[in-house]
């Protein structure tokens, strides 16, 4: 009985966090810029769900990629990590800095698809 109560109590406490993590992507309106020390531009507008619907993206690893030894690992994805876990403030060898990673990942695809924002102020909207 006591064990059951503990599990219920734990679930009760964890529930908001679980909801939060589900909601954070659905409600995501812009790229989190709190990881930057001194951000110069407004946070890039990015509505996660709306974007993927419009762009017809089904696989997480279209954006949330995994690289090992400089090579893209197919069929693996990294949506459980933060971009900043790998991409630091500066380039490291072939691994682009966080700013560059965002820019290249988003803009690179937009250029290839000939759709979506590619100018500074189209994402960094004032």
């Amino acid at each position: 009985m006591k064990k059951g109560m503990t599990i219920i109590a734990c679930a009760f406490f964890l529930l908001p966090f679980m909801l939060l993590s589900v909601h954070s992507q659905e409600d995501m309106e812009s790229v989190d810029r709190s990881v930057f020390d001194n951000p110069q531009r407004p946070a890039a507008v990015f509505k996660h769900e709306a974007h993927n619907e419009t762009a017809g993206i089904e696989e997480c690893n279209e954006c949330h990629h995994v690289y090992e030894d400089g090579k893209l690992v197919e069929d693996e994805s990294s949506e459980d990590q933060r971009c900043a876990d790998c991409h630091g403030p500066e380039d490291q060898g072939n691994q682009p800095s966080l700013v560059k990673a965002f820019h290249v990942n988003c803009k690179g695809c937009h250029k290839k698809q000939k759709k979506g924002p590619i100018m500074c102020g189209e994402c960094h909207v004032r």
Partner: protein, 219 residues
């Protein structure tokens, strides 16, 4: 707008940079060849010491008689030229583009500082325009094309300012900004803006002639 931006920031940027670098080299070499043909005697008294003495004096505010004689013009022209060079070269947005295309990057200005420097360049253009319109000694050496050249210089900074603040239709202003920058780059070797290329040579020649031949200062 997607294709238009890709075009002005891609192939057209290549054309602009090739014409700017190639044109500048051509003008410099053509000028030296002409001196060699018409006045080769000049090369006999060119002096590194007096060249540098002249260049350093004229690059220092109030270090020459003429800079002291016109203090307002001196302050404006120094502020204008410093901001004209520093703000586009060290602008975060520009360096970001160099970094993404060529993997090269360098120190950048805070956006707020670059914003003020842009306004200084625009104010400088207005000052030079009023000066051309009102000062008889400037009117005397002003051609109609000089107003056009002034507009070519002002355009990248006005559009850059508007693009940064995202006023008056962002995507179009952004495309115009890239175009305006390219027009200015191409105009440098082929208009009076070529003083950017020629001025060190002009000063070196003046410094050498005054120092070696006339035994006097040119500042």
């Amino acid at each position: 707008m997607h294709d238009l931006y890709q075009f002005v920031s891609g192939p057209l940027a290549w054309v602009a940079f090739i014409l700017f670098v190639g044109g500048s080299l051509y003008r410099m070499i053509a000028m030296l060849v002409e001196v060699k043909k018409k006045e080769p005697f000049i090369f006999t008294y060119m002096s590194l010491k007096y060249s540098l003495r002249s260049i350093v004096h004229w690059m220092t505010p109030f270090a020459t008689y003429n800079w002291r004689r016109k203090p307002v013009l001196t302050v404006v022209t120094f502020a204008f030229h410093i901001c004209l060079f520093v703000s586009p070269i060290f602008l975060l947005a520009h360096v970001t583009l160099w970094d993404e295309s060529w993997d090269i990057s360098w120190w950048t200005l805070p956006d707020g500082v670059a914003d003020v420097m842009t306004l200084i360049v625009i104010a400088g253009c207005v000052f030079f325009l009023l000066r051309r319109l009102t000062q008889p000694e400037v009117q005397f050496v002003t051609f109609p094309s000089d107003y056009f050249i002034l507009a070519i210089v002002a355009a990248p900074f006005v559009t850059g300012f508007l693009a940064y603040h995202q006023w008056f239709g962002y995507p179009m202003v952004m495309v115009l900004h890239v175009l305006a920058g390219e027009v200015m780059l191409v105009a440098i070797p082929f208009t009076r803006l070529s003083h950017m290329i020629y001025s060190p040579f002009t000063r070196a020649y003046m410094g050498s002639e005054f120092g070696v031949i006339r035994k006097s200062k040119d500042f």
